[in-house]
Symmetry: C2
Subunit: 270 residues, 2 copies
């Protein structure tokens, strides 16, 4: 099974694919999120695993936008713990390290460790790409911060695992594919809807959900690009789109909004 992801070989998304779907999966790296959707739509992969939110950095709204624009559905969910690893060439010890390369977010999240060990943080465009770079340079006085998977992919050494300041660092991913998932009894659904930008419009839109006692797990709003008086909302909630109370709530929502699109139903992550 081929599963596309955004990033270089060894990215956290690739690590999440293996943790979610097992070692037998064939991960397909693609440079941009949009390419992940293109590749799955063109049949170059069976599905794609795309990030939707991180517990520290927030939502990746590009993913919701793409789900809204494209025909692919959200058919699975995975929550992956982000454990930053300090990765070096063989023979390098902690005391040898002067410079540490990684994406600015990973450097920022590991700042306490870097400060305590007097290491200089050097921003780079990518976590896994930093591992590849110090490998190619054969550097003996530098390290990279990336996933454990990156060390495996590039055959490098993990000197420390879990150097992030806050261990509560999770990224939530959705599996995108041509069809969503059948009901399992423990499901979530993602939808998008558009409301007029006027007092009370969101409150009215949510009325049907409160009536049907549906538990919202996420709500995100943004202005519609190009139409300043409309807002698009992305909402996740517990339940499957074929459940009676969900069908009723979406009918109610449709009366109070300009448009509703079901992005998919999927088994809830553990």
């Amino acid at each position: 099974m081929k599963v596309a992801f955004q990033g270089e070989r060894g990215a956290y998304s690739e690590e999440a694919i293996i943790a979610y779907l097992g070692e037998s999966v064939d991960p397909v790296p693609r440079p941009y999120l949009k390419d992940v959707f293109d590749t799955v739509e063109a049949g170059g992969a069976d599905s794609g695993l795309v990030p939707v939110e991180n517990s520290i950095e927030g939502s990746i709204v590009r993913t919701y936008d793409l789900l809204n624009e494209r025909t692919l559905k959200a058919g699975g969910e995975s929550v992956h713990r982000i454990a930053h690893c300090l990765i070096t060439n063989d023979g390098v010890e902690l005391k040898d390290i002067k410079k540490v390369y990684s994406h600015p977010q990973a450097l920022g999240q590991s700042r306490k460790f870097l400060d305590e060990h007097n290491m200089d943080a050097i921003p780079s465009y990518d976590t896994a790409g930093s591992v590849k770079m110090i490998k190619n340079l054969g550097s003996k006085d530098s390290a990279a911060i990336a996933s454990g998977r990156a060390a495996q992919v590039y055959d490098m050494k993990i000197l420390r695992r879990g150097i992030e300041t806050h261990s509560e660092n999770y990224t939530r991913f959705l599996l995108v594919k041509p069809e969503d998932h059948d009901a399992t009894g423990n499901d979530k659904t993602s939808i998008a809807f558009i409301v007029d930008h006027k007092p009370g419009s969101l409150y009215q839109a949510l009325h049907a959900f409160a009536e049907s006692k549906i538990n919202l797990t996420k709500i995100e709003s943004r202005p519609m690009v190009g139409t300043p008086w409309e807002y698009i909302f992305f909402i996740d909630f517990i339940g499957h789109r074929t459940d009676t109370n969900i069908i009723e709530a979406i009918e109610g929502l449709s009366k109070n909004t300009r448009s509703v699109k079901i992005l998919g139903s999927y088994p809830q992550a553990a």
Copy 2:
């Protein structure tokens, strides 16, 4: 007046400071968002200009988190159009350019232009940092994508202005400082509040706002790190925290939520 921002000299945030507050301001570059707050709190700058959302990439929730954790207030708002410039050394023409360096978001947003001109996109950690790099290399076959301000700061040439695929690319900034802004009659307010993760809790929380006919302009939710059954919401709305209907709504909200924090009131951006 010193105004801190996150990024290198020539970053879009610096360009936004000049557009918002004028050429006489002294911009103070800081590596991380957290440093911007630290610098202002320590008196190293009078205020900081920090991004909260981009029309394409979405919210920068780190900023809302910092406003919630720290004592600084949101006391101003600015919406800045992001126009990506193709920047080169002197004497370089469009036909000479083989490689283009920039942050992956800027490369992604300029992809149509790069594809049409057969230019290779090379990801880098920073937009303005890419300009500095090709200047230092004296490169004659490469360009960087960054703000017009970056070309000015590093004394480089703007070969094309506005190469982004979608021109509706805006970033909204908040001015953070020790006190927020007095009422002007055309204000916005940002607040944070925490609700239990149960059906209808957001709907109940929003009741007071719908009653008082307050126009919400943004809503953003995320799980509380470490307490999985609570959610924090960040809401922006029209009005000043000293307006009678706002005072009433926040009183009503306080009855239905675990905690409410006013992040600041400020004149609405044009």
